[in-house]
Symmetry: D3
Subunit: 220 residues, 6 copies
Amino acid sequence: MATILVLNPNSSTSVTASMDKALEPLRQSNGPDIACATLAEGPAGIETQAHVDSVAMPVADYFRSHKADAYVIGCFSDPGIHVARESVDAPVLGIAESAYLTALGLGYRFGVVAILRASVQRHMRAIRQLGLEGRLAADRPLDLGVADMANADRTISRIIEVGTVLRDQDRADVLILGCAGMGIYRGEIESRLGVPVVDPTQAAVMRAIGFLSLGYRRAA
Amino acid sequence: MATILVLNPNSSTSVTASMDKALEPLRQSNGPDIACATLAEGPAGIETQAHVDSVAMPVADYFRSHKADAYVIGCFSDPGIHVARESVDAPVLGIAESAYLTALGLGYRFGVVAILRASVQRHMRAIRQLGLEGRLAADRPLDLGVADMANADRTISRIIEVGTVLRDQDRADVLILGCAGMGIYRGEIESRLGVPVVDPTQAAVMRAIGFLSLGYRRAA
Amino acid sequence: MATILVLNPNSSTSVTASMDKALEPLRQSNGPDIACATLAEGPAGIETQAHVDSVAMPVADYFRSHKADAYVIGCFSDPGIHVARESVDAPVLGIAESAYLTALGLGYRFGVVAILRASVQRHMRAIRQLGLEGRLAADRPLDLGVADMANADRTISRIIEVGTVLRDQDRADVLILGCAGMGIYRGEIESRLGVPVVDPTQAAVMRAIGFLSLGYRRAA
Amino acid sequence: MATILVLNPNSSTSVTASMDKALEPLRQSNGPDIACATLAEGPAGIETQAHVDSVAMPVADYFRSHKADAYVIGCFSDPGIHVARESVDAPVLGIAESAYLTALGLGYRFGVVAILRASVQRHMRAIRQLGLEGRLAADRPLDLGVADMANADRTISRIIEVGTVLRDQDRADVLILGCAGMGIYRGEIESRLGVPVVDPTQAAVMRAIGFLSLGYRRAA
Amino acid sequence: MATILVLNPNSSTSVTASMDKALEPLRQSNGPDIACATLAEGPAGIETQAHVDSVAMPVADYFRSHKADAYVIGCFSDPGIHVARESVDAPVLGIAESAYLTALGLGYRFGVVAILRASVQRHMRAIRQLGLEGRLAADRPLDLGVADMANADRTISRIIEVGTVLRDQDRADVLILGCAGMGIYRGEIESRLGVPVVDPTQAAVMRAIGFLSLGYRRAA
Amino acid sequence: MATILVLNPNSSTSVTASMDKALEPLRQSNGPDIACATLAEGPAGIETQAHVDSVAMPVADYFRSHKADAYVIGCFSDPGIHVARESVDAPVLGIAESAYLTALGLGYRFGVVAILRASVQRHMRAIRQLGLEGRLAADRPLDLGVADMANADRTISRIIEVGTVLRDQDRADVLILGCAGMGIYRGEIESRLGVPVVDPTQAAVMRAIGFLSLGYRRAA
């Protein structure tokens, strides 16, 4: 049986557990095994560029030492994506990249809900790299601290606030949750906002399953 | 069990059969049923804009009268895609659109192998609609007549010729077969050209499976 | 004498009559005959994609059976434009396409006044097809029902409201009326908003006259 | 009767005469008067940026002192177009700008035939200003000296050579003659190359007639 | 010792003096001489397109008759930049162009503070010429009359108002002062707005110094 | 006296020495001190993505522990640029980014000479991030092995070959050397190809000097 390895590059096992739960709908009895792992040496959360860059090599190393048929980097900064692709002979998918590509098929203009203001420029670099800025409605931060994020109600309610601005003012017709581990709230957010919502981890694993079915050996 | 209905809008059952065979790797024992159908009233092949536009309403009508959980329009002109989306309460995926979105994840610059010179402008309109022209390397026609297409060796050899130009001169690093029913040759073409090749019907069904797993009810 | 045939693809003869009246300034004693016709089999109004796609072949058929020197499709969705071009050996101009090209010469950023919210994505597809999204300020709907449209004062006053937002907030310096049959109000709207306004039917016929004078046999 | 004043900003009356002749098809018995004039103080030909900039103010001055209902600047560098627009209360059209806008309606990708290599960058600046670079196939110079240009056969044969490269290698499907006074050869070039050809002076006057018919008072 | 000649193409010596003062930080004991001059024949201020075009040739003439190792055109409309480049065998830098290129290295999205509403389109033409519109946040006018500009407090306070909108609403993270002679206020504006501010004259002279150090003989 | 620290992130001191020599023209008696350093822990050359990512944190660490007024990352992959910017309170300039911005002022279309084919996609990502792909002519690899690079004549002659294709076929009018340590050959390459050539290390230090003169504290 084929295996998809989803690595959470931060060391918070609660985030890994939440991602794992959000992937449940993608598990099929005869489908690939979807395993979620935590990068023990990662920071508690990936918020700064130093966090991103410090896990790039460890992500690639982890993949090299854990054999799988497809790999997913479970952080919206896609840390180490290019070195990981160079390191293993299997598709490596980033969750941000996967979210952008998936959103293209769900709406005309995608909006991104960022955690922090400082992440917006990092997202813009990724979106421009992919040549997709013509489809971006806007990228707006939640400006939530870690303490607030632990409070699910507060987080969802803030996502609804920011998502409403993205939908009504920026005219986004599909939203991307710019973080890992929120897929479990996707249903509620979709039903309250009335637009499709992309959980990036789900999007990446969905793509990984497709890659395995069709025999693609490398992503780019 | 969920059902994906793939409709070949031309009346050639041999094309439908070839598409059906190319979808074999996407069938899983517990996955959705993938059924291929032929639009009996369609033309023998879809080559002209009149062919495209004459099947738009019939495609939508066919979908409306054949209940499925996701629909795929099995023609690289995506005929009737917008009216079909308006007509049924389930995702409708075009194979051209799916090929473009899939190619974005397999390379930096995609090349398209068109059947006829006259199709190139139609493809360009679709690529521009999606805002993806910045990722297009080139779109080059095979200029093959129907008689030639029946000859598999001749067809493959011509695809290799055109694909070589796309790869070497236009610097494409992923190729799209701009036609339905050639997925069965994908492996040979990939191994001879050394770049990933997208069969659009496979790409669309792969996306449909993902939509069903994640509960997306509409494509756009 | 050369003839320009303007076909209203909906069956409302009052719309045809209004278009006809708005074209009066383009009629010259020695110029081409400008005839407006109604597609009897069309829907009462073209609001949905089903309306658009259902008239594509009838538009082409009508043109094929009514000889003219240039053809204009009198609906802002340009239904059947590509098949019509394939069907007759004379220029076929869409009124939306003509409005976009004309607006490029009247201002830097064009704003579009759409009838319905649902039309905006259809417009966006057309604007992207033409590669002109860099010149678009915004496309905003009137959200008027058919009953409201019958009321000229109400319609004009709503166009002024939306046009003011396009001009002041979106910084459009030229406006396009995204509908047929409103050319008769152009003067009033222009004088109240202080920016040039494009009636798409006028724009298309103006272009058709030019094509005939200069001997161009095909539009693209 | 309305008047369109076409000013050749170089002092070569033979160029003015040739432009005048090429405009013959646009003259209608009841249509506007189309008068061609020569800027006596202009250089013999406009080849350098100094030529372009030295006639900007004289063009505007000429227009200010010669009342007309629409003005056309008959040089492919559109010298003085912005100051002229500021100077008179009537539409001022440049022939290059008009050629680009007209070509958008005749093909998907336009090719430009420049006289001199040094003009190509000037054209690129204009095309980028208009936001139309996505529609440009290529701009290639004839590299002809003045003496060669006097020889019609030699000029046409060189245009055919360059036009063939633009059509076959750069995939242009419409060509623009990047010079004034060649409209008289348009028919021959079109029939030999099999693609529509835009004479910029014709394009500008065609647009001017439309502006007058529809009452637009300013171009932009 | 090398010389950089900065020409103020308007005749206001107070503007020249202000520019001269703002360039003080760029003067090094062993660096190039930076001389500011006034075009005596220029208008009192460059506000209209007629002002711009009327000084194009005089700027080039002035440069040709005043030998320097690099030239800077000290007006945000970059009047005569192309003809000046053709006229002298040394780099000619425009201050607007220099401001745009410099801003690209200081932020992701640049905002422009224009003096007058009428200048905005002129700026847009320049930004599009350079292919940089994807990096523009917005260009907003101060709408200040000459009298107001003489009042430094009033001017700064209005720049702060407009700059705040550019930063907060248009999401600019670097601002350009769209005028010459305001460099002396840069420090105050930067500290009050908290984003880097580009004085175009400083930017141009900074680039000129680099060109001289590295031996580049021409700008483009 | 201000200090600019240029860090070669590979461990080859010969490359550092070559960079140091190429920076000689930027050293002024009263200007900032320009010091070149070698990252002892870096790989012998930076060729793979693993090389790039493995030095990101060390570059930032090195800067944090070596106080300077401006920092330059002396490798055409700009490794660690974003984390370094987050780490120190002074401008951090990448040499690739600086080369692109500098080339914009020297020509219309820039060509890049890459060392290896595998670097081209990395360059494309950077160019797209900056929104500058509209100005790129092409990026072509030398495909030289390390052994060949030691041979200056062989290297220059290969650069001339590739540069000729970029200039004549891709129509680049300015070239960028996509590597550090070749600035010493710039003069010869420029005189043989007749177009300006950008040495990225020189470009970055030139910009750093400007930042220091004008008091900019951060690059972006």
